[in-house]
Symmetry: C2
Subunit: 384 residues, 2 copies
DNA sequence: TTGACATATTTCGGCGTCGAAATAAATAAT
DNA sequence: ATTATTTATTTCGACGCCGAAATATGTCAA
């Protein structure tokens, strides 16, 4: 399927600076075969030989590295109110980043052209564009390259992303859901680099999971996998409402902000009290948490408890090695994750289960765009 | 990895009676290659040519079939109180079955020798044994071939199944968890034959899930995947207890029987009322349900509601095409499944999700043993 | 019956990968 | 320095699978 050339390049991305023999062992290929293809890739300008590494005795290994000048990839992502773009050279180093806000009034067409603007904003002149990845919220049809539906943008139905951008840029375009894209970013650049089985828990305006199993991103039968925002939660924690509460209504960023606003309206004290209701953002929340604001910490802990239980359920079903928490709150680190870890451990049965490592993503707000770019990087193949 | 020969045989098992050209298309191989290997397999006695099928015009296809006399496979499974064994000839037809009960006093050694007895009981004289699959409850270490732990049998810790049976029978031995084994049975012989993504929900004394994704049985990082018996359930349905109730304590066969006993002790009327408390079995329960006993139906419905919600959660996370319900209650069919389906649909969000088909296994009580045998069948390779 | 057509299977030359042996390039010992 | 040792890379013959063309075996129409 994937040509040996591209597999070799992929492998080299994982462990930068490997020699021919290391590649051969890692990929279970004959050294002679690796030599053949490496020579070809060097000739084509995608790889180059670097320093020699000497290990005690024997002929030293010639380290191979990716040639940054071979071209670049672009990733674009958008979510509720924000669009980000990033470009990576052939050796996976960041070239440029770009950020722009989306308006509540933006229609599908507007957003589509902002995506194109994003690609152009991070483009490098003089180098060759090799591929573009696009990560969008809502449901996507990966095979047909169509963004199927997203409820918060007017007209965002069956948007032919791949076709449109393909005609404009003339390079391979890859479409993916944005939480899954964040999982890919963790797999290629983040904490899950060595991980075959992990879940990326994306907590933003909604909640979703990017599931990587046996080293492969898992999408499900209809590309709906990971939509755990709709999970029903134990009633004890639900607010007084008719139907049982859903995870997204209890522990998403949007939900936490709403809960804070409600608590403050009810007279609870907080560093955020002065502000007009609904006038504060995630950044305000984070700042208050770091400064030790009791109300904010309490709400974060409540959300953490629920998320920890959710992680426990996913872990019992899938037994992943790791759960990477992503989204703006991940930057709070242990301040946000500790209650999650405790809840997860508390609910995990002693036998027949193991609590996964729960870690905060270190990739920041560009992780979705990074994952989209990674998608293009990953699927790149040398043109003949 | 798997030799082409064995892949061809596998493929032929899926669609019995395919021609060379059909195999070539299905496996994306060159017709010439398929011809080469098929000839070799015929020569070795594993395959044989059957009737010719004519489709309107053209040279007719020569149908290929598995040679039943090429050898046989054995599968053994045990659960709480029962051990089953089955043998299959090379063309996947059942040769013999065997069943025996386990006693509460049986130790690991006793059970191990009962497993061996099971293999011998279904063995066919004159034919060649090609492999044995063993499915056990609790946790297993597939790679090392060791049954790690099961709490309900004394001394069942780190039992070297593969080594022990391997020495005794001199053929490849395969070890698997029994719920996962049931999933394999569904994949090869049951309703999930054409299914790439499905979950087998095993409801017996405990509750577990066998997860098949992208056509592959998924085991998890530490072989713990599918242990959903420990899932915490919404408190509203929990009995008055200190800690939140677990799925297994609410909807397993054992739990339902306990609930029935408790209700009858509290004076509820039922066809089972006459019997001594705890004196009735699953079979009694099934009979009463078929006869329309109100109390039993009510309890089944309550369990179904909870299981339906569980299916919904799994479906949101993994978006499988199908959920196969297995275990003794599955034989009740819609009587047991209908409440499950309704609950699953009710809890599934309209967008971003699709409720999987929920079906009852048709494989009966030998499905675990069947799956174990399938494991051996599946991994068989022609000896040179 | 015969020829035209359709489709399955086999034949055969070519390319890609492997495995073993040869060669290269370093260190360690004499 | 020189030689032995160790390990990486390259060379080269072998084999497996592919693809296109040839061949086999049927149906259908005149």
């Amino acid at each position: 399927m994937a040509s040996l050339e591209s597999s070799l390049v992929q492998r080299l991305r994982l462990s930068d600076g490997a020699s021919r023999i290391e590649l051969a062992r890692a990929m279970e290929l004959a050294p002679s075969t690796v030599g053949l293809y490496v020579d070809r890739l060097i000739e084509q300008g995608f790889l180059r030989e670097g320093a020699k590494s000497r290990l005690s005795a024997g002929r030293p290994r010639v380290l191979l590295e990716l040639n940054p000048k071979a071209g670049y990839f672009v990733g674009v992502e958008f979510e509720a109110r924000q669009l980000t773009a990033i470009s990576l050279d052939f050796s996976n180093r960041t070239l440029k980043r770009h950020r722009q806000t989306l308006r509540a009034t933006d229609t599908a067409d507007t957003v589509l052209s902002k995506i194109e603007e994003g690609v152009e904003a991070v483009s490098a002149r003089g180098k060759r564009l090799l591929g573009v990845g696009v990560a969008v919220p809502g449901t996507v049809d990966n095979e047909r390259g169509i963004a199927v539906h997203y409820e918060f943008i007017r007209g965002w139905q069956d948007v032919p992303i791949v076709e449109t951008l393909g005609e404009k840029f003339g390079v391979p375009i890859f479409l993916e859901n944005n939480v899954r894209s964040m999982a890919l970013a963790e797999r290629w650049f983040g904490l899950a680099r060595e991980c075959e089985n992990f879940i990326c828990l994306g907590i933003r305006s909604g909640i979703g999971a990017g599931v990587v199993l046996s080293g492969q991103l898992y999408r499900g039968e209809n590309n709906f996998a990971g939509e755990i925002g709709g999970w029903v939660c134990p009633a004890e924690t639900a607010p007084e409402s008719s139907s049982p509460a859903k995870l997204e209504e209890l522990a998403s960023v949007r939900a936490i902000l709403n809960q804070l606003a409600a608590a403050i309206a009810n007279g609870r004290k907080s560093a955020l009290s002065g502000r007009p209701l609904r006038g504060f953002t995630v950044d305000d929340l984070s700042r208050a948490a770091r400064e030790g604001d009791q109300l904010v910490l309490e709400k974060l802990q409540q959300a953490g408890e629920i998320l920890g239980r959710t992680i426990c359920q996913m872990s019992l079903l899938l037994n992943p090695e790791m759960v990477v928490v992503a989204g703006p709150l991940a930057e709070l680190g242990d301040l946000f994750l500790e209650s999650m870890r405790q809840a997860a451990v508390r609910h995990t049965p002693a036998l027949h289960a193991r609590t996964p490592r729960i870690v905060a993503s270190e990739l920041g707000q560009y992780s979705g765009a990074l994952g989209a770019a990674a998608q293009a990087v990953h699927q790149w193949e040398p043109s003949l």
